[in-house]
């Protein structure tokens, strides 16, 4: 049975995502030693290093979001196709800004569960920035890390996610979600709610919010700064939301 990593990466005019993806791949190779497939477009592919294979697509361009007070392009409309694009029996689908610093994901890929993701996170800056409980009727799940196997049940979960994506405004109204721009986290949450899928990774995902600057990053640790406070983490998987990361420092 094959196990591998799937990452999406599409550079936008304002934000080049490929440096983040390249670092993400190097961390995967160091800590998990699993094959990596990147789903990308032709323009971005030439800048991606270290991937074992590519799926080249013409990604949809019609989504935007607020990032640091600006409205920017957000090419996140392909995640629902991860089941179709993945060449693996067991897939670990990762955001390109999720950096692996342990072997934990490899352990979690070797269970009887066919669909797993986080439903709890914690803010490493201690400010509890990710409390979205009052912003929808449905508890949020995080599609940042999704471990899935190929079978009929999981295929139906992804089919429903596609349907939700195509009818997102309806589901936003139904679940009183106040993020009107399409967000994968809610599409996954709704699909899991509709299909009564209740299996989660039982620990919280470590998060660094958008307003937190990464001062230094290497293969073992991340040093970060927020409101003139400096702190660091070592050998801990982390989701970094600030896209300006000084990889060469």
């Amino acid at each position: 049975m094959s196990t591998g990593i799937l990452i999406y990466c599409f550079d936008t005019d304002k934000i080049p995502y490929h440096p983040t993806t390249n670092f993400c791949i190097s961390q995967i190779k160091r800590y998990l030693n699993l094959p990596v497939t990147v789903i990308t477009n032709k323009n971005t592919q030439k800048n991606i290093q270290g991937a074992d294979s590519f799926v080249i697509i013409d990604n949809q361009l019609n989504n935007r979001r607020t990032y640091k007070g600006e409205t920017v392009d957000w090419y996140n409309l392909e995640r629902a196709c991860a089941y179709d694009y993945s060449p693996y029996d067991v897939t670990i689908l990762l955001d390109s800004d999720y950096f692996v610093y342990s072997q934990q994901l490899k352990q979690l890929a070797d269970t009887s569960y066919d669909f797993l993701l986080h439903n709890k996170v914690y803010d490493l800056t201690g400010r509890n920035s990710f409390n979205y409980r009052t912003r929808s009727l449905i508890p949020l799940v995080w599609a940042t890390v999704v471990i899935f196997k190929k079978n009929d049940r999981v295929k139906s979960i992804f089919s429903l996610i596609k349907h939700i994506q195509n009818n997102y405004q309806h589901y936003c109204t139904l679940y009183r979600i106040d993020f009107r721009n399409f967000r994968n986290d809610y599409a996954f949450a709704i699909a899991m709610n509709q299909l009564n899928v209740n299996n989660f990774i039982p620990v919280k995902m470590a998060m660094l919010p958008t307003d937190t600057d990464v001062v230094k990053i290497d293969s073992d640790s991340v040093v970060f700064k927020y409101q003139n406070k400096k702190s660091s983490i070592t050998k801990q998987d982390v989701h970094v939301l600030n896209k300006e990361i000084p990889f060469n420092v």
Binding site: Q104, T111, S112, G126, I201, V203, A206, K229, S231, I233
Partner: protein, 104 residues
């Protein structure tokens, strides 16, 4: 002690408290133990449950972290793995905790 010193002290203790909390969260997240394809947390609750059941049962069923049942056919091996993982994680946390204590 003037106000700026108090502010410095307050900032320092906030930083230490946050770092301590992060270290503890890291410890919790490292307690994951996959056994018989089920997911467990190698915490005091799981260790106590398995140690207690092991006294009277050669095999038994426990619920994993998602409340799904898992047959434990070799309790001794499972308990050893739980304790090893628990102590590995808590020893790391202990080392970090000592560095925070010295900073106070």
């Amino acid at each position: 002690m003037d106000l700026s010193e108090l502010k410095q002290q307050s900032d320092a203790s906030f930083d230490i408290a946050t770092a301590k909390k992060n270290a503890l969260e890291k410890a919790f997240s490292q307690q994951i133990l996959v056994y018989n394809q089920s997911i467990f947390l190698a915490n005091a609750e799981t260790i106590n449950l398995v140690a207690t059941l092991k006294q009277t049962h050669k095999t038994f069923v426990v619920l994993d972290s998602n409340d799904n049942p898992c047959v434990i056919a070799e309790p001794e091996e499972f308990l050893t793995k739980l304790i090893e993982k628990n102590q590995e994680v808590l020893n790391q946390y202990h080392h970090l905790y000592e560095t925070f204590r010295k900073k106070i």
